[in-house]
Symmetry: C2
Subunit: 691 residues, 2 copies
């Protein structure tokens, strides 16, 4: 057989891959919702006797044509169910031990040999919940709650239109329309929202409704409930009275349960013709992006009784979720649901791969393993297509050192992790999700700014590590709150350059000045973006100069918020600058030792500034140690350090303005405001470039 012959029956679809994952998510979510409301599952058979399915219809009804007939070896007259309501009635009829009230849900395939269009197949899933044996509006209010909760959990904003069939029938009666025209009139009413007034009039006219009747009926159907209630409350028509009463009761529940925002009374809502006897519902997407309803239902107090025909009453009400249209919505929203969370590439360490997979699965992580010993590149390309968020690579060399490679595919990060820590790291990566960030260059001292600062400390440390590993030039990582203007550094310190970067970012939204709070300081900072891509920040100081400065051994120390700036004069700096150029690593450690022994400060960060002259200007060499994350950097620019030097310079030379060359070659300009020994504030400015 050629493979093109191995095709599906027209109107039957196979759902695989992402589609099947979405469909499973919908069923599971709805199932959980229904069970929380006390509905129990029912699984009825797909095969039915044709006679049962045909029972309710005339021989020439279209529905009968759409029933698939089945033949078996015993030549029975069988068929496939076309809905879940007939099997529900059959179940109640044939299980006499069922006590009412009975609340059930069923999610299952039904078959209709009808026209096909998008979202309409011949073999499709219905998702029904019904209760039988309960009268009154309390259960109807519960069904509204279930609609709200079910769609909320699916991430779809809805509006539920509701009406009452008794009310509608009453209105038709009081307009003196003949009883035998009722169902035709309802069919027309159902079209009111779709057609123009002229078109509707024409339709009414066709079935012989008089001008004044049309006007009366149209008048009533345009009213809000309260108005309608006032106008027709005293008209003596039983259906009208009952209908109004039921709507009032339902409205009270809706109000008490805070459901008002989800519902809308819709007097033109008719919902088919037969079978409904009271409240009816129809659910629409709130933003109207989809015109057809995505769910519906109502009360049908007579149908099951007529079907079973045992003389008993079976008051019933039910709703149905449109699984196929929900599927189309979630599919278009690109709702992504990971089937596999971690993919392990064993590189021939098969047993280890199986063991790590088992360990992860014990921690509820979904794991798959590459088992064809593919080349790494090929394996990764497959994973990329599958959209797996995390990959573990068991490289031979890494394993020898008790390490494994963890790739965060969503963010395109990679970490070399100790074998003993992989579980924690993987769970952190899964909990972090997708990270949005921007890398800025504030004249050297490149800074990564993460959008969002609502991460735990462990998450922040991991993000810091991943960013630093990926971008070797990035010297620090900050987190920007999405809610307020706030910058938090990974180490909790205060950083002037990062502050200027944060102002740059926030000024994208609020063009004027930006007021900002920053970790490591209690002060509010104010800054703004200037025209030439420079960003300035104003720092409130408000202190006498002698309170800011302290001498510690060879160092003149200036206390800036969150960091102690320790300045070594040009003469004393020479030795260390020389050493730095010869061996940066050893020298940084030597300076860290000096910070511990000679400077000894409680601040979260300490920075030693080595000064030198360059073409008449002062050039700085900042070595900064952030205690919390224990990093020592020879920074390519340092804003706080520059400010410290400006204060030191003012003490020495009484110059309020200074330009300082950063190791990157860029300048930072400082201007101090105040008088005599009192410094009121400082304005720090310099260029910022996006990477």
């Amino acid at each position: 057989m050629k493979s093109e012959e191995l095709k599906n029956v027209r109107g039957s679809i196979d759902y695989g891959g992402k589609d099947a994952i979405i469909r499973n998510f919908i069923s599971k979510t709805l199932q959980e919702t229904f069970e929380k409301y006390g509905y129990s599952p029912l699984e009825t058979s797909i095969l039915c006797y044709y006679d049962i399915l045909a029972l309710k219809y005339d021989e020439d009804n279209d529905i009968l044509k759409e029933i698939y007939k089945v033949t078996d070896q015993g030549n029975r007259n069988l068929a496939l169910r076309y809905d879940l309501t007939v099997p529900f009635a059959k179940y109640i009829a044939s299980n006499t031990n069922i006590k009412l009230p009975y609340k059930r849900y069923e999610i299952g395939k039904v078959f209709r040999d009808g026209p096909i269009k998008k979202g309409r197949t011949r073999e499709f899933v219905q998702c029904d919940i019904d209760s039988v044996g309960i009268e009154g509006q309390m259960i109807e209010a519960e069904l509204i709650s279930i609609f709200v909760e079910g769609y909320r959990r699916l991430g779809i904003d809805i509006i539920i239109k509701y009406n009452n069939r008794k009310l509608m029938n009453g209105i038709i009666e009081i307009c003196n329309i003949d009883n035998d025209k009722t169902s035709q009139v309802i069919t027309i009413i159902d079209k009111i929202e779709k057609l123009s007034y002229e078109e509707i009039k024409l339709e009414f006219d066709k079935i012989g409704i008089k001008e004044n009747q049309i006007e009366t009926i149209m008048k009533y159907l345009k009213m809000e409930f309260n108005e309608l209630n006032k106008v027709i409350k005293n008209v003596s028509n039983i259906k009208l009275k009952e209908g109004l009463n039921e709507i009032e009761k339902l409205n009270r529940y809706i109000k008490d349960l805070n459901l008002t925002e989800y519902v809308r009374f819709s007097p033109t809502l008719a919902r088919g013709q037969e079978y409904y006897t009271g409240t009816i519902f129809e659910v629409y997407v709130a933003n109207g992006s989809i015109k057809s309803s995505i769910g519906g239902g109502g009360r049908y107090d007579n149908m099951i009784g007529e079907f079973i025909n045992d003389g008993k009453k079976y008051p019933a009400v039910g709703i149905s979720f449109g699984l196929d249209v929900i599927f189309e919505i979630l599919r278009e929203k690109q709702t992504y649901l990971y089937n596999t969370e971690v993919y392990i590439i064993p590189r021939e360490n098969n047993t280890l791969a199986l063991k790590i997979a088992d360990e992860l699965r014990k921690n509820e992580v979904k794991v798959d393993i590459e088992m064809n010993n593919l080349k790494l590149k090929k394996a990764l390309s497959i994973i990329n297509e599958k959209k797996v968020p995390i990959v573990i690579i068991l490289g031979e060399n890494e394993i020898k050192e008790n390490k494994i490679i963890i790739k965060d595919m969503k963010n395109n990060f990679q970490i070399l992790e100790d074998m003993k820590d992989y579980m924690e790291t993987i769970q952190e990566i899964l909990s972090i999700g997708e990270i949005k960030y921007n890398i800025l260059n504030p004249g050297g001292n490149k800074t990564a700014l993460i959008k969002g600062c609502e991460y735990t400390n462990n998450q922040k440390k991991l993000i810091n590590k991943m960013i630093m590993d990926k971008y070797s030039q990035v010297e620090q990582v900050g987190f920007l709150s999405n809610i307020i203007n706030r910058l938090e550094m990974a180490g909790g310190e205060f950083c002037m350059n990062a502050t200027r970067c944060a102002i740059y970012e926030y000024s994208k939204e609020n063009k004027e000045k930006v007021e900002l709070s920053v970790s490591g300081t209690n002060k509010k900072l104010i800054g703004r973006k200037l025209n030439d891509n420079k960003v300035e920040v104003k720092l409130d100081i408000g202190k006498n100069i002698e309170d800011l400065i302290e001498t510690k051994n060879d160092f003149t120390c200036v206390k800036i918020d969150g960091i102690l700036i320790a300045i070594l004069d040009e003469e004393k700096s020479k030795k260390y600058i020389q050493k730095l150029r010869e061996n940066e690593e050893t020298t940084k450690n030597e300076l860290k030792q000096l910070m511990i022994t000679e400077i000894a400060s409680e601040e979260k960060a300490i920075g030693i500034m080595l000064l030198e002259k360059e073409s008449g200007k002062i050039k700085i060499n900042p070595i900064v140690w952030v205690k919390e994350i224990d990093t020592v950097f020879y920074e390519t620019a340092c804003g706080s350090g520059s400010l410290g030097i400006a204060i030191y310079n003012y003490l020495k030379n009484k110059d309020k303005k200074i330009e300082l060359i950063q190791p990157s070659g860029y300048s930072i300009n400082i201007e101090l405001e105040g008088n005599k020994n009192y410094i009121k504030n400082a304005i720090i400015s310099g260029i910022i470039e996006e990477e």
Copy 2:
């Protein structure tokens, strides 16, 4: 239509109630398991072209007879799928964008018009997982893990038999059996475990296998793998070599992944005839209570390729869980899964009921509401049938006092709870589950002993409250460990009578003496049940009498482990005994005040003993205050108090033996051992009766 005509098609079953809940639990559990292993869902259509289903079979094959044929309006030649493997192959063939390896699971209905018996219907659910595109044993080891994990989560202990078809074919070849007899021989081998040796021989004989061939083949099939491997390793037969090699590889994975206890190599396992090409599995219930297999599968490297026939290779391996037989097992095990956890009876407080229900559902509790305003008795009888564990009753009087009634239906307890605390209490009750307890009467001072002491403090307090509310005569609640001999009182205190009760309980298992640890003391206690239902306990004291006794105002205080016994002599007791008889509540509070002001002790419990004479014996009146749970009881018997009095009596009269009449009228006897001022230990004995 009469209701008896609304019946199911023969071989089609509707699953409702508990059955549907069990079936949902099975699907959900397996689905979660499969997804943890990287298998993605597939939902293929039920309707298929008949030709595709018939493709692999001769026209007169029995399988074809069992296919249900379907007719549609277009007179297409349709049918219902009879398994999930053909639709799987069809899906691969018609979706050329699927990259191999492809791992999928499908849980869905299939239809076979065949014979019916228990656990075999015509419309049933198959539950398959398969991978295509992976060779080798790593994936086979993964499938064994999935069997183990899947059945573990379903609560079924299994043993997986495995074999290899290459090995089996190899053995048949080296026995020089004609190739055209191979499949007949395999059919006979498959019966070896069911038939006697004579019967098997007869079957072989029938198809012309010679005596010596039969002996050789039977010899091989009885060997353990290692023996078989040794004997035939050097025989030059390719199938044999490959089979042995594959089993060895699989064995290594099984060993490394600690799966040995779940598997058994079974050289006679054949599993059908065609289609399998390598490893095969069959799963059995470990205790053998069900003879037929409950799952199975194997490698079938050629089948999909032959089906699609596009010249490509489709190595495949899959397993299948027998959903229907698993359902029968869980059903018989009476595995109970609650569909509804809390049932609210509104007593006309409908809105409040809906609100409480919503609140509970937000906390993931499954809630149903009585909506027909039934009489309380009728409503409770319905709930009893539904086996709902918790009932909330919104009684009018209770609501007025901001209280609700919570009934723990599993344990038949009832609490009147503050409205603000209901959520916590309900979650505690759900977490506690079923409580087993026994109420004993140690000569008054009735004690409830709960089996198990691994409860949290909150759970203990709740259980204490529920027991005390239910049994007004019970004065205290203790918890007995199921693991060691240990008694923990709800208040953490030490209680002599409860200790005797605990010894009574534990001595049901270990007849001789019982060694016990008890809350409130570090000492081990030894006790035993005597012949006349008396229980004695030996308490190690080891102290001089002056170290035990202290005078505090009017009281002679004796420090027993965990409780301070404060004795008032007969003369001074008179006043309080009089008052107690007049107004017990006020007097208990007055005595509690005395304990706080005049006795002032750090002990977890304080007991005041009021003494009086009764027919020449001493009668005691014990008022005991347990601080942790803040209860003051006029106890009907007090073991610790009796011991305190015995010590006090020894100090006064040098009598080592004393009989003390308890308020209940029963006696407790104390015998002290030691010499002079030194008391070595005390033996406390008295009657214990089961309630």
